[in-house]
Symmetry: C2
Subunit: 212 residues, 2 copies
DNA sequence: CAATTGATTGATCAACTGATCAATAGACGA
DNA sequence: TCGTCTATTGATCAGTTGATCAATCAATTG
């Protein structure tokens, strides 16, 4: 019976590859991208380092792929969570709340690792560019749609999207180290977005504590 | 003659220590904090790794000290550059221009390294906290002075200072990878600062390209 | 049952890392 | 000039890391 797993440790290549990828993702989210090692991944799934090496051409591509998978999953989850929103304003509001929510520290730390390690690993640097473009395209599309609907008003949605993403990353990065005040973070980004998108003050959410 | 350097490689301890610290700083600014190694520093100054090890209790503290020295120098240079400014508005304006200037990428990369590596090196993490507090105190003091002079108007200068620093870091981090448009960066931060500090639009500088 | 395929292993390699310690050699004082 | 002090060395250690390759063993096939 080919579909039944025997008691052996032997697995189908696709399953093993997926297992390795998943394990690398778990390690990266907890201990950082640089904690992904052959022996670390191997010991977690109970195999030999040589096996992990057999499934991956090199560690560089494993790290880059792991980072890409984490960010892709991040975007996917956010997009899914934003799907019910009917207006662009509501979507943007939910996006800000999500990206500055309490569960962001792990992914933010991975981004910091990627920015830092990317300067030495070419494949990771390329993946960082890809994923930054993905986020840029995601938010830029949201803003452009909002402009087309007449909800937003800006001459350059791409520039505004880039600025908002940069601000969000900066706030999250600082929040990892100090002063994790989620309400304040959201309030600030709301204010910037409202200003940049021609929205009336308070359009992006309840005034949960004034920004100033 | 004690003041004359002989042809020997032997040096006074203070000079050697300074040489090591300076070399570590140069390496960090070019290749990153994680590129600081015993052999790397030693080979640059033409000595044995054991000598560097003899002057430093451990690599962790050398990396932390190097990071601290770089940031301290950064704050010092900025403060010196801002000294001629007479009003708080002019000072803040100059600060924004400096921190988002074209020469920031090296120091920003060091900050990214520190945030990333700080999660694994306790001494570096502590130094990151110290230096973030130093920057926070610097800008917070500037804003508080401006408030006392009646130039700024905000209920919480500390919060505004933290937000501005976070935004600046986020913009600089993104600018390292993509879209390095200095004018736009400055314009955005100016807008945020003007809004947060009760300033009229354009108070922090010429409108070199509208933000929106 | 026998044979082939391939997932997995164990051993091993070279290249790094930080760190230690006795021995050395250069500078200075007496 | 001799002796002391110490900055400096050379050798070496133990610990990582990623990577390779023949050997092995399980599963599937004939």
């Amino acid at each position: 019976m080919s579909t039944v797993q025997s008691t052996s440790r032997r697995k189908a290549p696709v399953e093993r590859a997926a297992e390795i990828a998943r394990t690398a993702r778990e390690i990266a989210l907890v201990e950082g991208l640089s904690a992904i090692t052959l022996r670390g991944v191997a010991s977690r799934i109970g195999v030999t380092p040589a096996l992990v090496s057999h499934y991956q051409p090199s560690m560089d591509v494993l790290v880059a792929a792991t980072f890409g998978a984490i960010v892709a999953a991040e975007i996917g989850e956010v997009a899914e969570e934003l799907a019910p929103c009917e207006t662009s304003v509501a979507t943007l509001q939910a996006l800000i709340n999500t990206l500055l929510g309490p569960e962001r520290s792990a992914v933010t730390a991975v981004w910091l690792d990627a920015w830092s390690l990317g300067r030495r690993h070419a494949s990771l640097a390329a993946e960082v560019g890809v994923q930054m473009d993905a986020w840029q395209a995601f938010l830029s599309g949201l803003l452009t749609t909002g402009c087309a609907r007449g909800e937003f008003r800006t001459a350059d949605p791409d520039a505004v999207a880039w600025q908002l993403l940069a601000i969000i990353d900066g706030l999250n990065a600082h929040a990892i180290v100090r002063y994790g005040d989620a309400k304040r973070l959201r309030g600030l980004v709301r204010t910037v977005a409202e200003h940049e998108l021609g929205l009336p003050s308070g359009a992006l959410g309840p005034a949960d504590g004034s920004v100033l």
